[in-house]
């Protein structure tokens, strides 16, 4: 309890980069703070009232000095901006092939499900050295998913997907916090991120029993909600097959015009909740809305299913 760390652990690929920038900034800040403190101390001592010192020709203004001390902070500022912006970019672009994990926040817990199917609450198990991508949403208010050891944070909003990715570099147990104030038990809405050796992770996944994967659960839901009735080559309804849709460009009919939209998770979500807002060209707007009928975790499962058949050929 009486340990006195100055830095959280560095346990992700971006952590050292963020720390480096941070130390640079601490250095710059120290430099300017010390500069100003020291100058003030020197002046107040040297030019204290009554000291016998040359006070002739004090300067009242100097364009040269002013431009200097406007210019220097500006230059440092630009360095920090570009450095920070570049890192930020990297921070957010998940590498391809990242492990998919979905996160649903609600007052005051985190419901997390791995694509292999195992679900957990307030804990997140991840394998070492493997990029992980979280797709997150909230059922009520705004929360924020925060892992200090990874230097990542992202608000989790109701009615919308946000994402976060990281690649753990150190086996261990790290804090998971909710960083956006969300009501009574905001401070209790956290848990642990457990980084494991890949083999341990596989074992851990298997421990949950050889239950269905998220996609398999999604497929079951796909049938339960009668999606399959239309989307698997129905005789009565002309509906698009969903194989190979995910990640592709989809033509959307907008009045007389057609424009293309990438079928990402947000698109699939909208297609299910408000199907008629984006009607695929060549189809009638027959699909009913499932707003309020499918829970957030189930939605994510269905999406996982549709994603899982992204590689398949569309049977015609």
């Amino acid at each position: 309890m009486w340990n006195f760390p100055l830095l959280p652990e560095q346990a992700s690929t971006v952590a050292p980069h963020v720390d480096l920038l941070y130390f640079f900034q601490v250095g710059v800040s120290l430099f300017f703070s010390v500069l100003i403190f020291a100058t003030i101390l020197y002046f107040t001592y040297h030019y204290r009232e009554g000291s016998n010192i040359d006070r002739s020709r004090p300067i009242a203004q100097s364009l040269l000095l002013e431009t200097t001390w406007m210019g220097i902070p500006f230059v440092f500022g630009m360095i920090m901006f570009f450095w920070g912006a570049a890192l930020f970019y990297v921070d957010y672009e998940a590498p391809p092939g990242a492990l998919d994990v979905s996160v649903v926040a609600k007052q005051w817990m985190w419901y997390i499900q791995h694509s292999q199917g195992r679900a957990e609450i307030n804990e997140l198990h991840v394998p070492l050295g493997q990029p992980v991508k979280l797709t997150m949403t909230s059922q009520d208010v705004i929360h924020s998913f925060y892992i200090p050891a990874f230097r990542v944070k992202q608000d989790v909003l109701p009615g919308r997907y946000t994402s976060l990715w990281f690649e753990p570099t150190k086996v261990g147990r790290y804090h998971l916090f909710c960083a956006e104030y969300c009501g009574t038990n905001h401070s209790a809405m956290g848990g642990w991120v457990e980084v494991m050796e890949p083999a341990d992770y596989e074992r851990w996944l298997a421990e949950g029993g050889t239950g269905p994967s998220m996609a398999q659960e999604g497929e079951k839901l796909f049938v339960q909600h009668h999606c399959a009735g239309c989307h698997r080559g129905s005789q009565t309804v002309h509906a698009p097959r969903l194989e190979g849709v995910f990640g592709k460009s989809v033509p959307i009919q907008e009045g007389k015009d057609v424009h293309f939209v990438t079928a990402d998770v947000t698109y699939i979500r909208d297609s299910i909740l408000r199907p008629k807002s984006q009607v695929v060209a060549g189809f009638e707007p027959l699909m009913p809305s499932f707003e309020g009928q499918i829970s957030e975790p189930d939605l994510l499962r269905i999406i996982a299913y549709i994603k899982s058949i992204a590689g398949e050929e569309t049977p015609q």
Binding site: Y92, E93, A94, T135, M136, Q154, L157, R160, Y161, T162, S163, T262, D264, V265, T266
Partner: protein, 99 residues
């Protein structure tokens, strides 16, 4: 301070122009201009505003300071709208979820 008093004729001309512009807005709304409908409507409203401010509110007769104030207030309004819009317009430019 002492602007010259605007004549009744000036007032009536401005009023006439305002009426014309009003008819123009309604007319323009009926035209199939597509995405241009909105900017056209706003342009007409802005023109009406300019007429009202300059003539009914006598901005023509006032000093630079008052004109600056008027300029600033509309500039700030536009600034707020545009900068908030900036967020919404650029959402999903990157194919990164939630960015």
């Amino acid at each position: 301070m002492h602007h010259h008093v605007a004549t009744i004729k000036t007032n009536l001309i401005i009023f006439g122009l305002l009426m014309l512009l009003l008819v123009a807005t309604v007319g323009a709304a009926e035209l199939p201009l597509g995405p241009l409908n909105f900017p056209v409507a706003m342009l007409i409203a802005a023109t009406k505003t300019v007429l009202i401010i300059f003539y009914f509110m006598h901005l023509t007769g006032t000093d630079k300071l008052t004109k600056t104030i008027v300029g600033t207030m509309f500039l700030w309004l536009v600034l707020m709208i545009l900068m908030i819009m900036m967020d919404y317009l650029s959402r999903d430019w990157l194919q990164i979820l939630g960015k």
